[in-house]
Amino acid sequence: MIINLPASQKVSLHWGKLNFDHTFYRPDFSFKIGNFEFKKNLDLRYGLDLAGGSSLLYDIDTTKVPSSDVSSALESLKGNIERRVNLFGISEANVKLTNSSGKNRLEIELPGVEDINQAMTLIGKTAQLSFRGEDTKVTESTTSATFAAAFPNDTGINGGHLVKSTVQINPNDSRPEVSIEFNSEGTKLFEKATKDYLNKRIAIFLDDIPVTYPTVQNVIPDGKAVINGQFDIKSAKELSAQLNAGALPLPITKLSQNTIGATLGKDTINKGIVAGLIGLIVLSLFMIGNYGFLGLISVLSLFIYGLLTLTIYRLIPITLTFPGIVGFILSIGMAVDSNILIFERFKEELRAGKPWNVAMELGFGKAWDSIKDANTCTIITGLILFNPFSWSFLNTSGMVRGFALTLILGIFISIFTGVFVTRNLLRVLAKKNNQL
């Protein structure tokens, strides 16, 4: 149902129309939105369950890291994984750290990736930290040589040889520098490497990407080295975190994996569209059959509701998942509910012998209390599901939150269209009635 609605340009046109009907809703504002829409190509975003793709959930073991370092270790882990995922060439990949009942989790969403084996191997491996010596022949003869070509000589030192890396301040010039410490095997290898490459450069590669390439100034026999250079505190910390992540990544274990083929998602969307449309048609017939002309007005405001909702989905933007669509459909039901409440009140007042427009205003006024209270209850439940503060004892899964978000948004928009739009449509028509 959602996709069948007109493209974004048309949506903004309807915004204009909507404002034409009652000009006091700040036409300037909507004009801006109109412009904004034209500038941006706002496609609806589909979640993994509809567009196809894979999601992975990992448990992060932080027990081996002192508690003061956990948050920085988590950040560097996230950065590391992001780098790897990007290396794999996945656009719009999403790497998220979550906390569930005190346990740290890593959530990775890979849209469009159906063959997940390769991605998983890439994500799960430990970062490859390597120390490679410079080939001066290459660096002196050309200026545009690639890093890999300039540093072809592997010293045999890798991340496993690194014990830790910290940031310290050089007491002489009070500049930040990065210290590294090797284990016994690494110390031997490093001593040899510093002998071999004295006054030359050794580059440190993390997953084949050069991180730093300091010049060796002395032979270092004790396995404790200091990289100094043009660091500020931030870049020194970053380097240290990268080195640490390569050496000591937090161990992660896979908790769940979920792959949805694009065909299944398409199938869900298509069937959902058909079902939604038929439901809407029956609903419209029911409303018109029951309330006649009033019903027609409410179907019209329902249509505006649909377009408004879509515009907002595009603007925020909201990633549509299957439960999200159900939330949307449910909120349609609630939008109609406001109208039914009002119309029943309206009819009661008419029966009491009040004139048409008085009865209408009274109907809206009296129904408002019920609409407000009933929807507040739904919003309360919606907020508990949405869990806006990410409390770890509540649900943090994207699916449930997607549902809650569209439901909450739907309620607000439906109050707007069900009450204000319908009311103003009826007022305009009431005026005409009086003129006749």
Binding site: S256, G261, F403
Partner: protein
Amino acid sequence: MNIMKFRPLFLFISLSLLSISAFSLIKWQFKLSSDFTGGSVWEVQFSKDVGRNEVEKIFKESNVSLRDFQLDNKKASLKFVNIDQNQKTTLDEKVKTLDSGYAELKYETVGPILGKELMQKTFVAIILSSLALLLFIGSKFKDFSFGISAVLAMLHDAFILLGAFSLLGHFFGAELDALFVTALLTTLSASVHDTVVTFDRIRELRQKNFKIDWESLANHAVSEVIVRSINNSMTIIFMLLSLVLLGGAITKWFSLALLIGVVCGTYSSTGVAIPLVLLFKRSKTNDKG
């Protein structure tokens, strides 16, 4: 319209629904999906006809015990224990030799820890919603018997929905999954939504005429809002029914759960919440007398 005279009937309906639910819950519990139990779900679309036995043989050779296997129109739905990536690769390769043109529709594997967490969190969410709604309705109507009645009616609906899914699971293989949790929580809000509208009418009528007794007040209010209640539920039912009948496989049970929840919610505001309020009010007057 004297709807409240049907209170014994409502009591009978509610009690029978609750006891059927309780019976089914005790006897058959739920058919839990891998979201709760942990395990793997694999859906495969074959490009040609493959034999059931051949697929089963692959799993046997790979030492992966199948829990459930459905083959329908070249589409296989397989459920088995939690396996690691190497085992999955082996399965992939073996299926490929059987049919090189197969397509993976869905593969999902969940560790058992997540299921436990999901249950705990759902429980917390229900408790939290109940408390929040109790406070909101109680303070809104300045009368906690309203809040308690609304929340009890809501829990009544939730329990019946759980029971219904226990039955559906036993007879039709419906599974409780993470989506069901969402449906359950929506039922809670839909149920209260309806109840609040009726309560609101009682409050309004009471302001108009303070001397009228609670029972006629309730009757008056219910007969005034019942058309709206039914009409409103009808609209939601249209949307959901079309999703149940026409929607995809994932949609079906989820929409059905919502449908049961909505129908229950409409019934319970008149059939459970209002009679409960009357019960509270009567015991209060009795105390005074």
